[in-house]
Amino acid sequence: MILTRPSEIRDLLTRVRTVAMVGASSNPLRPSYTVFSYLRTQKPYDVTPINPTLTEIDGIAAYPTLAAYAEQRDAPDVVDVFRKPSEVVGVVNDAIAAEAKAIWFQYGVINDEAIALADQAGLDVVVDRCMKVEHARFRGGLSTSGLNSGLITSRRREA
């Protein structure tokens, strides 16, 4: 199912524990590193880089492929994708084979064939959004920067 409503995306972010980040970079200037370094400090997330050119990022072991990840770990709750749109059909096939429950295509990672493939395979799909931004929306991070979280509530959030 393709998730577009804020409540659907919030529910996904609440369900998720393990995040396999395909295309995670160790270069601090790359968006994927920014998202990686943010998400890995957010409890209870367990974030793993998937990148055949790296052995680790900031001390966290990387796997070369999703298949290698799935051999040693439980199926990932979500596969977060930082790859060229033209290369992501293969990523979806790998995610399905790894029995991932959801796939998240980051900003600009838009490939209609890949989206349809993941949707038909029963994965929850988020497209053209940033996992860091959406997480920050619901945990208060966006609000610290004057960004419109869209949240209206008179309930008290935990400090």
Binding site: P28, P31, Y33, T34, T41, Y107, S143, N148, R155
Partner: protein, 412 residues
């Protein structure tokens, strides 16, 4: 399927940006009167400085009370986010510096606030950024004025003090066809009367000193961005090429739709240093809670004042507001009659502001627009005899009583 409830304008004017304080449960927004914030660890400090995590560092860059005001403004204007400043002109200058540099060019309506004309034609021009002024009533003139290095098109929703309403739906496609954003000053209309982003604007500016504060108690400004403009279209190297201010970070790549807002805050606002204070943000938040109630009454009172003036023989003309509660009129006796009229008023305050709960009066040609040449005054829609009224929230009978006294003092 779960229904996604959309909260209405008045509700968001009271609640957006201000959930109960997580630390104390305080229902009113706390005033975080602090310059800086203790880091949780050296690692967290490094992540914050590198823009890899969200949080507070120093109140020149962001502050929880100011952020609450920013989020509320973003919600009311229908934008992605907002940045508050120490004044409307500071918000405008930081918008310019976020998009343009020496050698660039802007296109601006000529009927804008006199302080804006001066900012553009003197200070910004001195920095190497030229502006072409066009008629707010001729969107096609904007098309002709846009050149290869033009970075944005700027208009006021309601011109100050001409009252000319810009056709935003006509200006927006002209800007977008040229690959540039439409920047709209929405001070006179407020997001209650007009939401420029819904009409195609990309950046909305306010002097928050006016109707947003609503009580004349603080100076402030704010910019709101839609998040819909394609900043990677090749026309904005400040946003989509490596930034020397952040070790070569490319803002469009890292922040996607948030690129403009992140850079405008983390680089431009940081370096300009014209931040809004927490106390002033709190006054703005309080003002916004009654924006809808106040605007309805401002408009109702303004209608009554217009009708009153129309029927007076001393009044040569009234430029009835198409929207809002600020307008000009002229006395048959010209500039000298205007001076006597203002001096005879008891209740209306003679001062240089608008949007206060109190009714205000001024003679623009000798005050707010006095730096403009005669030609610029004419183009701005200001006659030598124009008197500007900002109709407040008092009993309308009292306002009319006072105007009557003023008009009697100039009766032939």
């Amino acid at each position: 399927m779960q229904h996604e409830h959309r909260f209405g304008f008045a509700t968001r004017a009271i609640h957006a940006g201000t959930p109960p304080d997580p630390a104390t449960g305080s229902r009113a927004a706390p005033i975080y009167q602090t310059a800086a914030y203790v880091f949780g660890s050296t690692e967290q400090a490094a992540e914050l400085f590198a823009l890899r995590s969200y949080g507070y560092i120093y109140s020149r860059i962001s502050n929880p009370t100011v952020a609450a005001f920013e989020e509320r403004m973003a919600s009311l204007e229908g934008g992605l986010g907002a940045i508050a400043f120490s004044s409307g002109l500071a918000a405008q200058l930081c918008t310019i510096l976020s998009l343009a540099q020496a050698g660039d060019h802007l296109v601006c309506a000529q009927n804008v606030y006199g302080g804006t004309v001066t900012q553009l034609s003197v200070t910004v021009k001195r920095m190497g950024i030229d502006t072409t002024f066009i008629s707010a009533e001729r969107p096609d003139a904007a098309r002709a004025a846009i050149v290869a290095n033009t970075k944005f098109l700027f208009v006021e929703t309601i011109g100050n003090p001409s009252g000319i309403v810009a056709d935003l739906r006509a200006f927006a496609p002209i800007a977008h066809e040229a690959g540039i954003p439409l920047v709209v000053d929405n001070t006179f209309a407020t997001p209650y009367l007009c939401r420029p982003i819904e009409m195609g604007a990309d950046i909305v500016l306010h002097s928050a000193t006016k109707f947003i504060n609503g009580h004349g108690t603080a100076i402030g400004g704010v910019l709101i961005e839609s998040g819909k403009f394609p900043w990677s279209n090749g026309r904005f190297p400040l946003l989509d090429t490596p930034s020397p201010g952040y070790h070569g970070k490319v803002f469009t790549e890292t922040f996607g739709e948030y690129a403009f807002l992140m850079r405008a805050r983390a680089e431009v606002s940081r370096d300009v240093g014209a931040a809004m204070s927490p106390m002033d943000a709190w006054l703005m938040l309080l003002g916004l809670e009654t924006l809808e109630l106040r605007m309805d009454r401002h408009v109702r009172n303004a209608r009554a004042v217009v009708n009153f003036l129309r029927n007076r023989p001393e009044v040569a003309w009234v430029r009835e507001p198409q929207m809002g509660s600020v307008f000009t009129f002229g006395l048959g006796g010209g500039r000298e009659a205007g001076r006597r009229f203002i001096d005879a008023l008891e209740l209306w305050s003679h001062l240089a502001n608008i949007g206060d709960a109190k009714s205000l009066v001024i003679h623009p040609a000798s005050t707010t627009h006095s730096q403009l040449s005669d030609e610029e005054l004419r183009l701005a829609g200001v006659e030598p005899e124009s008197i500007r009224l900002s109709v407040g929230l008092e009993e309308v009978d009292d306002l009319l009583w006072d105007l009557d006294n003023g008009l009697r003092s100039v009766s032939p």
